[in-house]
Symmetry: C2
Subunit: 524 residues, 2 copies
C-alpha cells in the first residue's frame, strides 16, 4: 500500500506529529510502515477497497498518562484519532478507521485486569482485555465467577460492551452488566462516572447511576471520549447448567418458534438470550460450501435437506440453556418443552444427544457457560477467501416480524447471489436479527454486490420500521440517516454534545454518523 | 406569603411573561395567587423556611405543543422553569423549586397513558401519570401486567424513574425497566431517543440502546431537557406470589442479615429488592410515638422492646417475596430459610401468620405485588406536625458496611435528638440505606437541627466513601460537591453539556448541583 496522510495535514506536519508520538510511546509503538505494520490495521472483511479505510499511522499507549499526551499532540495538529481496543470487531470494521488517513489509537497495550471482586461479582478491566484474558485469569485464580463473552473469544470485554454487544449467558446484555467507567475526554480530562466521582467511593462498581445525570451511555457507540476503564458484573457459577438445542424442519416454523419464545423470554424461563439459528449459519462452522454445492446462487432445497440430515440440524435450530439447581431446571424445562412440542417435527437434543465432534453444538455449549472460543469465526471458511459483513436489524419478538424480516432479507440476498446465513438472538423484549453476507474478499465484483445489497437492506428495513443496532464503518452514515425523526433531532443533539466535548473533532470522526463540525456535510 | 419574582426579572417583565403564558394555556393554568394557588407548590417537608423555595408562578401545559410555546416564552424572558410532574417527590423537595422565584413547570395535566402493550409487556406514559392511574387503568382493561410502584402510590411512573427511584417487585430497578423516551430540549426541539428516532419504528419500547451514543441517562436527575413521554417495561403476573417477613431480635444482627442477603440477592433467589427495616420505621406506619414515649431524645431500649413485642416485629425486619410457580418458590424458600435460620431468634412470617390489620405487613405485601397504596406516607404521623427528610447513601452489601452506616447515622441522629428511622433496600449489588429524619414542621428549632444533622451526615458519609443517590433540594449542592474527583471532572462535563443544550439556563437551574453558566458560583 502507498502511504497516506491524515486529512488536512501536510507531509511535514505529519512527520513532526509522528516524531512527537514517538517521544511519548517510543518508536516501537508508533506504526507507519505500510508494508509491515499498517496492514494490521486494514479490515480484511470490508466490501470496499482497502484504501477507503487505510490509516496513516497507529499509536499504542501503555497507560492513561501516555494517552493524555497523545491527545495533546492530536489537538495540536488537529489530527483525527480512531480509537480501537482489541481491534477484533470484525464484520463491523475490525481495526480499520472510518476514513483514510486517520491515526489509529490502539489501546491493546492497556490490558490490565485491575480488579476481580469475588464477593460482589465484578471485574474492572482496561480496554485491551480480551474475553480469553479475563477467562484465563479467573481460571488461574480459582474464581467461581463466569464471564459472558462474544462468539469470538478474542474480542474485548470493554469495547464489546461499548458497542452494545450481546452474549450467551444470563449476563448477555453487556450494557446492563456495565457498572462504572473512567473516560478521558478530548481535552485530556479524566472523568469517573457514577459513584466513582466520589473520592474513595466504596460503590464505584456496585451501583450504576451515581448522583445527577447518568452519562455512561454517552460513551457507548460513541466518539465523545476514550473509555479507559470499566466495571463489569460477573455471574456466580450457577448450581447447574444444562444447554439444549431444538431443531425444526420447515422454513416457516420460524413463525411458531418465535411466538413460543416470546413468553418464555419475557418471563425469564429462558434466562439467557435464545438463538434461532438458520441452517446455513449452522453449516458454516462445520463444513465448506463446496463440500455440498459448487453452483452459483442460493443452495437448492435438495442440498439443504442433505446438509440438514448429515449435520442433524434443522432449517431452524433453537439454542437455549437451563441454569440453576436441578428442581428449577426441571420445572422450567417442562414449560419450555411443552411450548415447542406443539410444533410438528421439533426434535430436542441435550448434551448426551450430540456427537462429541459436533462443532456447532460444542461452541454454543461453551458460550452458554461463558467459555470463550473461536469456533464461530471459522464461518469464513464457508467459501474460499471468505469474509463477511453483518446486517443487524432489531425486531419485536413476534412470528410476523420474524418471517417478515427473514423473507425481506432472504429474497434480496438470494437475488444478489448470496446464501441467507442468519440467526435471531432473542433478548428480553427484542430480537437481534443477524444476517451475514459471506463473500470472497479477493473478488471485487462480489464485494461490490455485497456492498450494494447491504445498502438496499438498510433502506427496505427502515421502510418497514426496523433499524440496525450496530454496523460496519462503510454503512454508519447510511444507517444514521435512517434515524432521522424530526429532522434528525437525535443526531443534532449528539452533534451539539460532540461540538462541546471535542471541539477540534480529534476523536473518531464519523463514528456512527457523528462528525465534528469541520467535517459535517449537509444533510438531505 | 408575599409575592416573589423570578431572579433577574423585573415586575413589568414578569407581568408580561404571565400574560404570555396565559395566552398559551389559558388563565386557569397559570398560577400566581400567593394565597390560594402557590402554596400548592411549597414543600411542606423542607427543613428550611418556605421562602427559600417559594415560586413566583406555576404553569401547567396540556400537551407538548403548549410546552413548546412555554419554553419559547421562558427563553424570551430568560426565566427559570422548574419541572415537576406529579409533584409528589416528598422528602426530596416535593413540588417546590430549587430557588425562590422560579416558575414551576407543572406537567400534571400531561397524564395520558398512551399505550399498554400486553403482548410485549410495556406501557408508554406521559409525565403526569401516577402509579394509581396506571394501576387502575390496567385493572380496568383486565390486563395481566403488574406495575412496580414507589411506596406512596400517588408518585409518578415517569418522574420516579427519572429520579432513579426503586420499587418492590422484580421490576424494581426503574431505570433498567425504562425503554424509549421523548424529550423536549430547551430550544423546543423534540427528540425521540433510541429506536424511536427511526420514523415508524417497530421497536421504540422494546430495545433500549438504539444506534449511536445512548442518551437516555442524560435526562435522568437532570436539567438537560423535559421528558414528555417514556416507555416502561411491565412484569407479567407471575404464577405465584408468596411474600415473607423475617424478624430479628438484636441490633447487631444487622451484620449477619446483610451477609446472608448478599448471595441471595446476587444469585436472584430473592428477585425483588430485599428490605431490612428498622424497628422504628416499622412502628411509624402503625402507631404514634406518644403512644409509647413522650420523652425527648431517642426512645429508650425498654420502650423499644415493648413496641417490638406489641407489634410482633424485631429490631430488624427483612421483607422479601417468592415469585413463580410453586416448585420454584419452594426450592428458593428452602435456600432462603437455611440462610436466615442460622441467626438466633430469627422468626419467619408468611401472610397467614400476620394479623389482617397489621398495617406494615399489609402495605409491604401490596408493594411486592405492585399494588399502589399510601400506607408508608403515614409515617409522618409518628409525631405531631410530622414531616421528614431522607438521607440516602449507597453502600456495598456487606455486614461491615451495614453496621458502619447504621452506627454512623444512629449515633449522630440520636445526639441531635432524633430517632433512628431507617431501612436498607438491598438491590442486585448495592444497598440504598434510607434514613429519615422525622421532625415537627412547625418547630423552627427542630427544622434547623434536622438541617444541620443532614449536612453533617453528608460529610461523614463522603469521608467514609459513601455517596447519596438522590436528595432534597436543600442539599443538592452539598452532595454534588462530594462527587468531586479530579477537580469535579464529572460535574464539569455535565456543565459543558448544560451550556450547550440549554445556553440560556432556563431549565431547572441548580438541579443536582448543575447550574447554568450565568448562575454558576466559583468552586473551592
Amino acid at each position: 500500500m502507498n502511504a497516506v496522510l491524515p486529512p488536512g495535514i501536510t507531509r511535514e506536519h505529519f512527520a513532526a506529529l509522528v516524531a512527537d508520538l514517538q517521544k511519548v510511546v517510543g518508536k516501537a509503538y508508533v506504526f507507519t510502515d505500510t508494508q509491515w505494520e499498517l496492514p494490521a490495521y486494514i479490515d480484511a472483511y470490508q466490501t470496499t477497497p482497502d484504501e477507503v479505510h487505510q490509516p496513516s499511522a497507529a499509536v499504542a499507549p501503555a497507560n492513561t498518562g501516555e494517552l493524555q499526551r497523545i491527545l495533546e499532540i492530536a489537538r495540536h495538529y488537529k489530527a483525527p484519532l480512531w480509537t480501537i481496543s482489541t481491534g477484533k470487531n470484525f464484520a463491523y470494521g475490525g481495526p480499520a478507521p472510518r476514513k483514510a488517513g486517520y491515526i489509529v489509537l490502539d489501546l491493546k497495550r492497556m490490558n490490565r485486569i485491575l480488579e476481580v471482586n469475588e464477593k460482589h461479582g465484578y471485574a474492572v478491566v482496561e480496554p485491551g482485555v480480551s474475553y480469553f484474558d479475563l477467562y484465563r485469569h479467573l481460571q488461574k485464580i480459582g474464581s467461581k465467577l463466569w464471564i459472558d463473552c462474544a462468539a469470538p473469544g478474542w474480542g474485548g470485554v470493554l469495547p464489546n460492551t461499548l458497542e452494545h454487544g450481546v452474549g450467551y449467558t444470563p449476563y448477555g446484555d453487556h450494557m446492563t452488566m456495565q457498572c462504572g467507567m473512567e473516560v478521558m475526554l478530548a481535552d485530556g480530562t479524566v472523568v469517573q462516572t457514577g459513584m466513582g466521582a466520589l473520592p474513595g467511593s466504596q460503590t464505584t462498581n456496585l451501583y450504576k447511576y451515581g448522583f445527577g445525570p447518568w452519562v455512561d451511555g454517552l460513551f457507548t457507540q460513541s466518539n465523545f471520549g476514550v473509555v479507559t476503564k470499566m466495571g463489569v458484573w460477573l455471574m456466580q457459577e450457577p448450581p447447574g447448567y444444562r444447554p439444549y438445542m431444538i431443531t425444526f424442519e420447515r422454513e416457516d416454523d420460524l413463525h411458531a418458534i418465535t411466538e413460543a419464545l416470546r413468553p418464555l423470554k419475557v418471563n425469564m424461563l429462558i434466562p439467557a438470550a435464545a438463538f434461532t439459528v438458520g441452517l446455513i449459519w449452522e453449516a458454516t462452522v462445520q463444513i465448506s460450501r463446496r463440500d455440498y454445492y459448487t453452483g452459483k446462487g442460493a443452495i437448492p432445497d435438495s442440498v439443504r435437506k442433505k446438509i440438514a440430515k448429515d449435520l442433524r440440524i434443522g432449517e431452524w435450530n433453537v439454542y437455549g440453556a437451563l441454569y440453576g439447581p436441578p428442581p428449577i431446571m426441571d420445572n422450567n424445562w417442562e414449560v419450555i418443552h411443552d411450548a415447542f412440542a406443539k410444533i410438528p417435527g421439533a426434535k430436542v437434543y441435550f448434551d448426551a444427544d450430540r456427537h462429541k465432534n459436533d462443532a456447532a453444538w460444542s461452541y454454543r455449549k461453551k458460550l452458554g457457560a461463558g467459555i470463550p472460543n473461536m469456533t464461530e469465526y471459522s464461518m469464513s471458511n464457508w467459501i474460499p477467501n471468505g469474509a463477511h459483513v453483518d446486517f443487524s436489524p432489531i425486531s419485536p419478538v413476534t412470528g410476523v416480524d420474524a418471517i417478515k424480516q427473514y423473507e425481506l432479507i432472504r429474497d434480496r440476498c438470494n437475488k444478489a447471489g448470496f446464501d441467507y446465513i442468519g440467526e435471531f438472538a432473542i433478548g428480553w423484549r427484542d430480537m437481534h436479527h443477524i444476517y451475514t453476507t459471506i463473500f470472497d474478499r479477493n473478488d471485487p465484483e462480489q464485494k461490490a454486490r455485497a456492498y450494494k445489497l447491504f445498502l438496499e437492506l438498510v433502506e427496505v428495513a427502515a421502510d418497514a420500521g426496523y433499524g440496525e443496532y450496530r454496523t460496519h464503518l462503510d454503512f454508519m452514515d447510511n444507517i444514521a440517516a435512517t434515524y432521522n425523526w424530526n429532522d434528525h433531532a437525535l443526531l443534532r443533539l449528539r452533534e451539539k454534545i460532540k461540538d462541546r466535548v471535542d471541539p477540534l473533532g480529534i476523536l473518531s470522526p464519523g463514528k456512527m454518523g457523528i462528525w465534528p463540525k469541520s467535517m459535517r456535510k449537509g444533510r438531505a
